[in-house]
Structures are given as C-alpha cells and as structure tokens.
C-alpha cells in the first residue's frame, strides 16, 4: 500500500485533511511527501492511503507533482514569499546635515583679541561724534539758564 506515487490524505498536524503523494520511502515508518502539503518527511501513521496512484519517479520535483495533480484536478495553493522592500539605511553617527539659520556672533567671539581692537576703534569714533554734536545745545542751554537767572533777579 505504501509505495512511490501513492495518493494519501494527511490525518494529523496543521495540514490534516489535505492530499499528498508519496515521493520516496525512507524506512519502515517514514516516507517523503509532497503535493498540497509542504515537501517533508512524514510518519506513515499520519497518512491515510487513498485509491489512486500517480506515475512519478523517485524523488520527483515539486513542479512534476504539481503537474500530475493538475491532471487529477486537485488544486494546490502556493504561497509566494513577499517581495522585500528596500528600507533607507541608517548609518550610525552620520546624521544628515540640517540647514542652520545664520546666528548672530556670540559675546565670547566678540571678546577675542581682534574683536577687542575693533570694539575700541568703534567706541572712539562714536565718542568723537558725540563730543562734536552736543556742543551746540549746551551753549544754548547755558544761554537759556542765563536768561532765566536775569529774569529772576
């Protein structure tokens, strides 16, 4: 009853209730099985032999078994592995450069030697300008004060 090409029904396991064919007889208790189930070793106790047989060679390929099954009108569901999507690779330590806004120069940077000189020059310029400008109003003020004093007296 157990021979190469014998159609069988699986009784145990998650593929129970599905049809398969014996591809190879390994020893007294184990056979190689293929068809509507995953191609693997199987215990004879987990198989229920059916009436039909298929003409196939020993260790026939899965494609051959599928062809023979199609002739008998037994559908085989084949699950294809999912196509892998390429993910953007993350490199450790190398972060993408982010555009940084132009920052104002910090106070520390201004206090460097070169910056100090510039600061002094700019200060001197501003003080000279200031000295020239307020001369006129001071005189006016003095005049005004004199006028006020004269009026009081």
């Amino acid at each position: 009853m157990i021979e190469i090409g014998r159609l069988c029904l699986k009784i145990a396991g998650k593929e129970s209730g599905k049809k398969c064919v014996i591809v190879d007889v390994i020893d007294d208790s184990y056979v190689m099985v293929d068809g509507d189930v995953k191609r693997k070793r199987c215990n004879i106790k987990h198989l229920e032999p059916l009436e039909g047989t298929i003409k196939i060679e020993k260790n026939a390929s899965h494609d051959m078994v599928v062809k023979e099954f199609k002739k008998l009108a037994i559908e085989i569901k084949e699950s294809k592995p999912k196509e892998k999507k390429e993910k953007p690779k993350k490199i450790r330590g190398k972060k993408e450069k982010v555009e940084v806004k132009e920052e104002k120069p910090k106070r520390k940077a201004l206090l460097t030697v070169g910056a100090k000189k510039e600061k002094k020059e700019t200060k001197a310029k501003t003080t000279e300008n200031k000295k020239e400008k307020p001369d006129k109003p001071k005189e006016e003020k003095k005049v005004k004060k004199k006028i006020v004093k004269e009026n009081k007296s």
Binding site: L9, K10, G13, K14, S16, E48, L50
Partner: protein, 88 residues
Amino acid sequence: MPKRSYRSRSIRKIYIKTPGGKTVIHYERKKPKKAHCGSCGAILKGVPRERPYKLRKLAKTQRRPERPYGGVLCSKCARLLFIREARK
C-alpha cells in the same frame, strides 16, 4: 468592608504584594471550566483556561491547536473524522 458588589462568591480574591510591601486584595471573576471535545467530551489540550478578555491578549496560534477543528474536537476525534471522509 469591601464594595458590596465584591461580596459575592462568584468573585475570587487575589492577594497581591505591592512594591511598597503591602498586601492588597484584587478581585477577579472566576475562570471558566476547561474546554472539552465536541464529540467525545475529553478535555482539550492546548486551549488555555482563561476569561475572554485575557484570551484576546494572546496570539491566535496560542488560543487553539493549529489544525482543522482545532479547539473544537480532540486530536483523536479529528483524525477519525478525516479517515471517515477519505474512506467514503
């Protein structure tokens, strides 16, 4: 005195030790009876005995055996059923 609704025999107490060292009583509904085979009445293996809200947290493969009629029939009865179908 606990809450009036907790003073029922259909609710079980669970003593839990908190991280602070106290023992606190938690109240839970009792577990349902074990799952049995639909044809022979034997206790099913591989079916956890928990309330539905705890079963929901489990993966589907952990809730029942992964074979046709898994979680309904025992393995012996399922095997006989397949053999009977094959010999028709």
